[in-house]
């Protein structure tokens, strides 16, 4: 049999299945992850060695920006039957003698953190442009005559008894402002706080102890 001479060809790997897999994986990740909800103010948290993770639900977050503005957020609960945000807004509406339409309640339950006097809340929910919406975010009032933050916290605890409290403060915020909020929480019988920090590993060893 004559030797079959094959011309030297560079090996061609058909990569079609690999591209298929990649596009599948990419679509999976794009659909399963959700964007972080737009935060009202940029907050750079201080660092700490703590590796404990914040719980996903049953948690209310109090944001404190560098200038002391306070924002509030609470999740809807573990499943779709609890509707914590709607119930909270209804309770606050009763307290402050305001009314919200069912459509506004529904919109509110899908939104995230907010920070404004409650009289502006209706306008914020109904605003469609993000720029107009952002203008409202001036912080929740905490003055002694009308401590709205105290009411938000109180009503949130009544709505969801097992909610934990997280405090997300900027590193350069004055400590007195944070202390004021911690005092407010302690007045409402909250003594355990989760301070949101970013992980920065640091450890001491026995060698570090000077002789």
């Amino acid at each position: 049999m004559p030797k079959i001479k094959q011309p030297a060809r560079s090996p061609h790997i058909d990569m079609t299945p690999m591209v298929d897999l990649f596009s599948l994986l990419l679509t999976f990740f794009m659909l399963t992850t959700s964007f972080r909800p737009q935060e009202a103010a940029p907050i750079e948290t201080p660092s700490s060695v703590s590796e404990k993770q914040a719980p996903d639900n049953d948690i209310m977050t109090i944001y404190i920006a560098k200038d002391g503005k306070v924002f509030f957020n609470i999740d809807n609960g573990r499943d779709t039957s609890t509707h914590f945000r709607e119930k909270l807004l209804q309770k606050m509406a009763e307290q402050y003698k305001l009314t919200f339409t069912p459509k506004e309640l529904d919109k509110f339950s899908k939104m995230a953190g907010f920070g404004m006097p409650i009289k502006n809340l209706k306008a914020w929910i109904n605003a469609t442009e993000p720029k107009v919406r952002d203008k409202f975010q001036e912080g929740i009032p905490m003055d002694s005559i009308d401590n709205q933050l105290a009411w938000w916290v109180r009503m949130a605890r009544l709505t969801n008894l097992s909610a934990e409290v997280a405090i997300k403060g900027d590193a350069e915020t004055d400590y007195t402002k944070v202390k004021k909020i911690m005092d407010l929480l302690q007045d409402n019988k909250v003594n355990k706080f989760n301070l949101v920090t970013n992980l920065q590993k640091d450890e001491a060893s026995v060698k570090d102890i000077p002789k």
Partner: protein, 213 residues
Amino acid sequence: MGEIIVEEKGKKGGKRHAKKHSTRIDMTPMVDLMCLLITFFMLTTAFSKPKVMVITMPEKTDDPADKNRPEIPKNRTLNILLTEGHKVYYYIGIADPKKPKEMPQLVKTNFSKDGIRKFLLIKNKDLFTKIAEYRDKRITGKTVVADTTADNAIKKMKKEDQKGPIVLIKADEKAKYKDMVDIIDEMAICNIASYAVVDPSPTELEMLKTAPK
């Protein structure tokens, strides 16, 4: 990868009538990009959960002179004062305004490794060594216990400790939030058994005014 080959009809072996046009799109860059995008999404979802530092404060009592509060031995009390400029001042003992002659001196330090951490490690040497040795035994595999068991064991060691410092953390109005978080972090790093965040007394605020800058 995908080959688009345009074949000329009527090709006879040996004699080619026309050049064979074959357009091949090299898809390697596309695969590279997809690989990068996937890695990006895989990593960013892992980081999105924020970490928290848990602190538990004691219940607020209306009566400052709480009769039930146990007596704190003077030489174990370490008072840390936080103020502006990320400075840390500390003193040992009690600053009693009625005994001005026995007023302790404020020592200035900072948050670096040679700062407050060094001092805390010296004061807490025994407990720190004990806990560090326990952790080493777990890492090297000499002791095999569940995480919760280990946490409870460390809590027990802290509770039974009789020699470590009892730290009282006080911050004046010029301190930043980062300072408070950093000092509580140092408590965790140095395995301090008991610490509390309290308000500074007027005496201490006076001491800060005359402290070394």
